[in-house]
């Protein structure tokens, strides 16, 4: 995986789980945006924590990285950092390529 090219390598036997995983991420992005608009930092912290746990487990390391950043920023009520990370997240979800090995 590279952050610039957004390529993720996933174990072949996880292929069945990926469509649902990706669809959940896109829904998650919407929820994050809504929470940010409402300055609901507790919800942002919770969602960030969840991204952190799930992302790398599936092989999507950047999801975990963004998740941890959102979690930490939410604890500090740092809306700006969260906003820029959500933009990165949106860009990532749009462009990520998945390679099954």
């Amino acid at each position: 995986m590279t952050q610039s090219g957004y390529t993720v390598t996933v174990a072949k036997d996880l292929a069945d789980l990926i469509p649902s995983f990706m669809s959940n991420r896109r829904k998650e992005l919407e929820t994050l945006r809504t929470a940010l608009a409402a300055s609901d930092f507790e919800e942002l912290r919770r969602l960030g924590h969840r991204m952190k746990g799930a992302g790398s487990s599936y092989g999507f390391d950047l999801v975990s990285t963004i998740g941890k950043t959102i979690e930490d920023a939410a604890k500090a009520s740092d809306a700006a950092t969260i906003g820029s990370n959500l933009d990165t997240y949106e860009d990532y979800l749009a462009k990520v390529e998945i390679v099954y090995e």
């Binding site: 174990a11 036997d13 996880l14 069945d16 789980l17 649902s20 995983f21 959940n24 919770r46 924590h49 969840r50 952190k52 746990g53 799930a54 992302g55 790398s56 487990s57 599936y58 975990s64």
Partner: protein
């Protein structure tokens, strides 16, 4: 223990290893379940703590993977609840915590977690931890199985040993009471009120003089089978068997309020059930035989008597000696009782079959005692 848990213990030996994954994030629970299934295990999922606890009770999994950060009940609370419930305490729990969260591990240990898994989850770590716990679990189950088998074996050995002396029903009760304070068969002698019954076979000596040894043994076995059956039928304890006489006791080792009545009914059953055998023997050997019985009650000593090489659980004392003397004078089909026994059983015998024998001074006794003889009507 819930029925489901009990069932799983039985079925678990042959079925696969079953894991319950509790996580509010469906991506995580599906991921973990998928990994476990790939390792040949059964995996089910729950999306929150309440559902997790319910499924542990209902499905009795072999292992629980439990997320810490969940809305509602946290993983710590779920863990603590499962560990404090006797029905689920033995189910191993792996807490899934964030990698950088050492405080969670401390709380997890306090809540009783068996192991931890870091999130994000590395496949190798997951498989290694679960496999280790599976081995531990299987070893524990095997040890438990062996322990139970030994326990069953011991109980069977005790039952077999006891059944030589007492009725199967009493043996069962002793096992249930687990020795009733361990004193029932203790070495300590006890002074107890007993009803002692001696029975022997009139006329048998003259048969033995003219019969083959093998045949004598078979005859004695037939006779003793009838007598011990009758004794067990009324929950007597068999204390001694010598020659053709049998000593049984009532009100020992367990109190029997109706001990005297039981003893008389036993005597009647011994006499009447032996009667057809006596008829057969008379036709074959030309000698009349029959059972004579002596019964007496009073205080006696109940103890294991003997040497380190041979001990016998027995009753010693006046009522035993008196019953023996009464038996010696009782003709076939007659039950001789001391007064204290007769007073308690008089309603069991029609008065035309009872004969007071007045006060009799028995051999070796100074005080005369009142004796009653009951004639048992035997079938022709």
């Amino acid at each position: 223990m819930s029925e489901a848990v009990a069932r799983s213990r039985v079925m678990g030996l042959s079925s696969g290893f079953r894991v319950l994954v509790v996580d509010d994030d469906p991506d995580m629970s599906e991921f973990l379940a998928h990994m476990l299934r790939a390792e040949g295990m059964d995996a089910t999922t729950a999306t929150d703590g309440e559902e997790g606890i319910a499924k542990v009770h209902a499905e009795a999994p072999d292992l629980v993977l439990l997320d810490v950060m969940m809305p509602g009940l946290s993983g710590f609370e779920v863990c603590a609840r499962l560990k404090s419930d006797e029905a689920t305490a033995m189910v191993p729990i792996v807490l899934v915590t964030a990698l950088d969260d050492s405080a969670s591990r401390v709380r997890g240990i306090e809540a009783g977690a068996d192991d931890f898994l870091s999130k994000p989850v590395r496949r190798e770590e997951l498989v290694a931890r679960v496999k280790t716990l599976r081995r531990l679990h299987e070893t524990r189950r095997e040890l438990e199985r062996r322990r139970l088998a030994t326990e069953v074996e011991n109980r069977e050995a005790i039952r077999r040993a006891f059944s030589r002396y007492i009725s199967p029903r009493l043996a069962e009760r002793i096992l249930e009471d687990d020795g009733a304070d361990g004193e029932l068969f203790s070495r300590r002698a006890q002074r107890v009120e007993v009803v002692a019954l001696f029975a022997d076979l009139r006329g048998f000596t003259s048969i033995t003089e003219r019969t083959e040894v093998v045949e004598v043994v078979a005859m004695l076995n037939e006779y003793f089978s009838i007598l011990t059956d009758a004794a067990y039928h009324h929950d007597a304890t068999i204390f001694n068997m010598a020659g053709d006489s049998l000593l049984v006791g009532f009100n020992v080792p367990f109190p029997q309020e109706d001990a005297a009545k039981r003893s008389y009914l036993t005597a009647e059953e011994m006499v009447s059930r032996f009667a057809p055998v006596a008829t057969r023997w008379e036709q074959r050997y030309g000698v009349a035989t029959g059972v004579g019985v002596g019964i007496c009650m009073g205080e006696a000593i109940l103890a294991n008597v003997g040497s380190p090489h041979y001990t016998s659980y027995t009753i010693i004392g006046n009522p035993v000696n008196t019953a023996a003397r009464l038996m010696q004078t009782a003709p076939a089909n007659e039950v001789l009782m001391c007064r204290s026994v007769y007073d308690k059983i008089s309603d069991l015998v029609p008065s035309n079959r009872v004969e007071p024998r007045g006060e009799v001074t028995l051999r070796g006794k100074e005080e005369p005692i009142a004796i009653y003889a009951a004639r048992v009507v035997v079938p022709d």
